[in-house]
C-alpha cells in the first residue's frame, strides 16, 4: 500500500506542478455565470493569502505557478494525515 500511495502522490505532484501550467485560464463556470448575472464584480479579498491564485508574487517564471501546486499537494497530504491520525483510532 505504501508504494501505491507514493505513486498517487507522484501523479498529484505532476498534475499540480507541471500539467497545471497548461490548464485553461478562462474563467470557470462560477465566474462566467457571475459575469452574466453581475455578481462577480462584488468579489473582494479579505484575507491576503501567501500564494494568491496559485502564484508567488514577484516571481515571473513558470516556477511562480509550479511551486504553489507542489506545496499545495504536500501540505494537503500532511494536514489530512496530521488531523486523521489525531481523530482516528489506533489499529490493533
Amino acid at each position: 500500500m505504501k508504494k501505491r500511495i507514493i505513486a498517487w502522490m507522484a501523479v498529484s505532484l505532476f498534475l499540480a506542478g507541471f500539467l497545471s501550467l497548461f490548464a485553461s485560464s478562462h474563467p470557470d463556470g462560477f465566474e462566467k455565470a457571475g459575469e452574466k448575472a453581475g455578481y462577480i464584480e462584488r468579489a473582494e479579498v479579505l484575507l491576503a493569502a501567501p500564494m494568491p491564485d496559485y502564484s508567488i508574487p514577484g516571481i515571473g517564471s513558470w516556477l511562480s505557478s509550479s511551486i504553489p501546486g507542489i506545496v499545495g499537494v504536500l501540505v494537503t497530504f500532511a494536514v489530512f494525515v496530521f488531523i486523521g491520525r489525531r481523530l482516528g483510532r489506533k489499529s490493533k
Partner: protein, 210 residues
C-alpha cells in the same frame, strides 16, 4: 465553484458556516469511531490528488470558459459520505487560506457546497445506481454529473438569498455552465475511480474501518 468574499450576505454565510460546523462535528465523531490509523494515508493521498486535479481547468469547447473537477464523487464512491466530508474540507480550507481560492467569510458556504452537498449528492446517486444494478462506470459518470449540478443549484440559492441576483438568473446561468462542467466531472470520476479501484483504495479503507 469557489465563492469569493464580498458576494454572500452575512446572514447567508453565517448560516452556511453554522450548518457546516454541525455536519463537520458529526464527521469528526464518526471518524473517532470508525477511522483506522492505517486508512489515513490512503485518504490523505486522495485529498492531495483532488487538490492537484482541481488545478487543472479544462476548456469548455467553443466557449471562453473553463471548469475543473470537484472530486467529491470520487471520494464519496470510494470512502462513503462521512470520510469524504473531511477529505474535501481539508482541500477547500487549504485553497482558501493558502491560495485565496474561495473567500474566508465564504469558507463555511464553500465547505457546505463542495465538501458536504457534493459528496452527499454523489453518495445518494451512487446508491440509487447500485440499486438499479447499473455498471460502476455509468454510476461514476452520473454521480459526478449530479454532484456538480446539485452544487450549482445550491450555490445559486445562496446567491439569490444574498440578494445579489434573482434566483431565476442565478439558477439558469449556473446550471447552464455546470451542466457542461458536470460532464467533465463525470468522465474524470469514472477514469480516476478505475485507477483507485486498481490501487484497491476503497478496499484498503473499508478493510481498515471494519
Amino acid at each position: 465553484m469557489h465563492i469569493p468574499d464580498g458576494i454572500l450576505d452575512p446572514k447567508v454565510w453565517v448560516s452556511a458556516a453554522a450548518v457546516t460546523g454541525a455536519v463537520l462535528y458529526k464527521s469528526v465523531k464518526y471518524s473517532q469511531r470508525t477511522l483506522e490509523h492505517r486508512a489515513v494515508p490512503v485518504m490523505g493521498a486522495m485529498a492531495a490528488f483532488i487538490f492537484a486535479a482541481q488545478m487543472i481547468n479544462f476548456p469548455l469547447l467553443g466557449a471562453a470558459a473553463s471548469g475543473h473537477l470537484i472530486g467529491a464523487a470520487v471520494c464519496a464512491i470510494l470512502f462513503g459520505f462521512w470520510p469524504s466530508t473531511l477529505i474535501m474540507s481539508t482541500v477547500v480550507i487549504i485553497q482558501a487560506v493558502m491560495f485565496q481560492d474561495g473567500g474566508i467569510t465564504a469558507l463555511g458556504a464553500n465547505i457546505l457546497n463542495m465538501a458536504i452537498v457534493a459528496p452527499a449528492a454523489a453518495a445518494l446517486t451512487h446508491k440509487l445506481m447500485q440499486k438499479l444494478s447499473l455498471p460502476g462506470s455509468v454510476s461514476a459518470i452520473v454521480s459526478g454529473w449530479v454532484s456538480v449540478v446539485t452544487v450549482a443549484a445550491v450555490g445559486a440559492l445562496e446567491l439569490a438569498l444574498s440578494g445579489v441576483v434573482s434566483l431565476q438568473l442565478a439558477m439558469s446561468t449556473l446550471l447552464f455552465w455546470h451542466g457542461f462542467i458536470g460532464i467533465g466531472e463525470g468522465l474524470i470520476t469514472a477514469v480516476v475511480l478505475q485507477f483507485a479501484i486498481r490501487s484497491s483504495f476503497a478496499f484498503a479503507a473499508k478493510e481498515m474501518a471494519s
